[in-house]
Symmetry: C2
Subunit: 341 residues, 2 copies
DNA sequence: AACTGGCACTCGTTACACGCGAGTGCCAGC
DNA sequence: GCTGGCACTCGCGTGTAACGAGTGCCAGTT
């Protein structure tokens, strides 16, 4: 049975009211708040249908209705009007992000900003190395058998690692290594780097071969192992706000939030098709402990490229239009910032 | 009225039982569990005195007794026997820390380890720059008007900042700048660095003066502003475990934990006199939101120096001997690790 | 055919009374 | 100075009852 116009309107009203009040919404209250020109009884009939179709449910008999995950899904896909951000909000975002001094700071500010604006848990993935390219590689001699390898990417990310050389090495040799590596790698995408590094070793002069091998192995580690590394988190305290209805099941949520792997999966898996943020509601994602939370995430990066993901986690009962708009806007601003840097 | 031997014993028993069971302890249960050779009535008399002196209190009439902050203080100062860590625990610590690949990783592992061992909220301050010295300074040209400044300290910490030069600058000049800065600063303690940087600018050749000034100002920022920078946090989920008795007041606690400034104050203020960890119970510290929280913290660093603080936050009702021992041990292991690196 | 008013019914929530039992304070006696 | 005994307090859990929000259904109206 296809849902007619009014039934959809009823569903929208239920979602909006429930999100606003956190209480099951009954037929009488609904017609009043939304000035519907029908009687409560009519709405009740509509509700019965919506319930049968699985869009809403009753927590108990004689309580109002509450949207199901399926209901939220329909709401997000077809019923919600996007709330444009107010100029004040836009200004706040801009002002807050402007002051950032380096990449670390950008990420930090972004995640706090997101948490503050949405009043939910915010997650920002550090720009991944994969999609960026090498701007510079530096070798710094620390002693005759040790150099510090510093990798600088065009997204402003810096990775450093200590390299133990196989034996005492002349400063001149280090200089030569630096030159070789830079010539081969600067400007190349990090994705292509591993193969290039390999051929560097193969082609190195015999005298340099072993040092080059040491440097290369560390470099490969840096490129491969760390490539999707870290994550920043903020707004954990907000969990306390929404956990009311998941009474006591707050512990597993907090635990899940401490697992970087989990967060990476939730935030990092971003479709390429840019555009609007992705919304996963309730158990549309794979983590049982976060069954009652929704994730709004999107990719960000300079221009149309994507170098990382960001987003928020909140209760399935969240203000989707507002959250989506905020996540979208913040991602855009951060992308612009990275493009400039 | 001075407390006699048995009254102290009673207090100890109350603290231990309460920590173990999380329930007010009554006189009967107490004599049984601790095989005291006196009757419950006697213990009750002792309890009355202890209560009068402010060491314990009754949540309500007809409930058992619970230690007050003052009681915990006495317990920590005079009654607790230090629990040495089991060999298994020591091995676990060592194994867990061994795998660390760089400084970031050391801090990360440490904080998780602490959280796991104590089942509380763990905080580790990144090694402060103040007490370390300059190992190397690198300038990397990114374009003709931009260089990346990389500072490497002997504790393995690396800071990088972008420098905008006042005008197009030759590669040779950058090389010269690099040479000058390194000659002046390598090996110097970061504490002395600011004055040295200043004189570098004063003495720079006219042609280099303005570029040197730009680099210097960024360098100063790095040295001064960021010097006590960051903090790592783990075990937030454990708050859910102990918040039971602070019913619902978990929100402010989580909020306080998000304030880096607060954590820095709690963990970073470490007396020089090394030795045992410092214990602050309940409102012995200054943060109202953490009134029901105790902090066990200590400094760590290679040898006898201190380059940062670490510790845990837990409910005032915590296992002090165990926690103190763990914090102490972890700090020692991390210090050793830094000494080796 | 769609909507409405009315009515009986369900059931969660709140309030109140009551009994149980843990724990206490006090006192007389050893 | 310690102990056994006893009366008292009070939080907690249970049971009962009244209340009211909300529903489902049905007969009547448009």
């Amino acid at each position: 049975m296809p849902l007619d116009e009014r039934k959809l309107e009823v569903l929208r009203a239920i979602v909006e009211d429930y999100v606003a009040t956190e209480e099951p919404v009954g037929s009488r209250a609904l017609v009043e708040r939304h000035h519907m020109n029908v009687s409560p009884a009519t709405v009740r009939n509509d509700m019965a249908v919506l319930e049968e179709e699985g869009y809403i449910r009753q927590p108990h008999t004689s309580a109002g209705r509450v949207p199901t995950d399926r209901g939220y899904r329909l709401f997000v896909d077809r019923l919600s009007r996007i709330k444009p951000l107010s100029p004040a909000e836009r200004r706040a975002i801009e002002r807050f992000l402007m002051g950032a001094v380096d990449l670390d700071d950008v990420v930090h500010r972004t995640v706090r900003l997101l948490a503050q604006l949405t009043r939910q848990v915010a997650v920002v993935q550090y720009p991944s190395l994969v999609r960026s390219s090498v701007r510079h590689l530096e070798l710094v001699s620390l002693s005759t058998t040790r150099v510090m390898l510093v990798l600088i990417t065009d997204t402003g990310r810096v990775e450093q690692r200590l390299v133990e050389l196989p034996g005492p090495t002349e400063e001149d040799d280090v200089t030569e290594l630096r030159r070789l590596i830079n010539t081969a790698l600067v400007g190349k995408s990090l994705q292509d780097a591993p193969t290039l590094v390999q051929s560097l070793v193969d082609e190195a002069a015999p005298g340099l071969r072993s040092s080059m091998a040491s440097v290369a192995s560390v470099l490969l580690e840096t490129l491969v192992e760390r490539q999707d590394g870290r994550i920043a988190l903020a707004g954990t305290a907000n969990v306390a706000r929404w956990t009311l209805d998941l009474q006591g099941s707050l512990r597993p949520v907090l635990e899940a939030l401490e697992e970087e792997v989990v967060l990476l999966k939730l935030i990092g898996e971003v479709e390429q098709g840019g555009g609007q943020p992705r919304v996963r509601i309730g158990d549309e994602h794979e983590f049982a402990d976060l069954r009652t939370t929704s994730v709004v995430s999107t990719g960000y990066g300079p221009g149309n490229t994507i170098v990382g993901g960001l987003g928020v986690l909140g209760p399935t009962r969240m203000d989707y239009p507002g959250t989506i708009a905020t996540v979208h806007a913040v991602a855009r601003y951060v992308g612009d910032l990275l493009a400039k840097a």
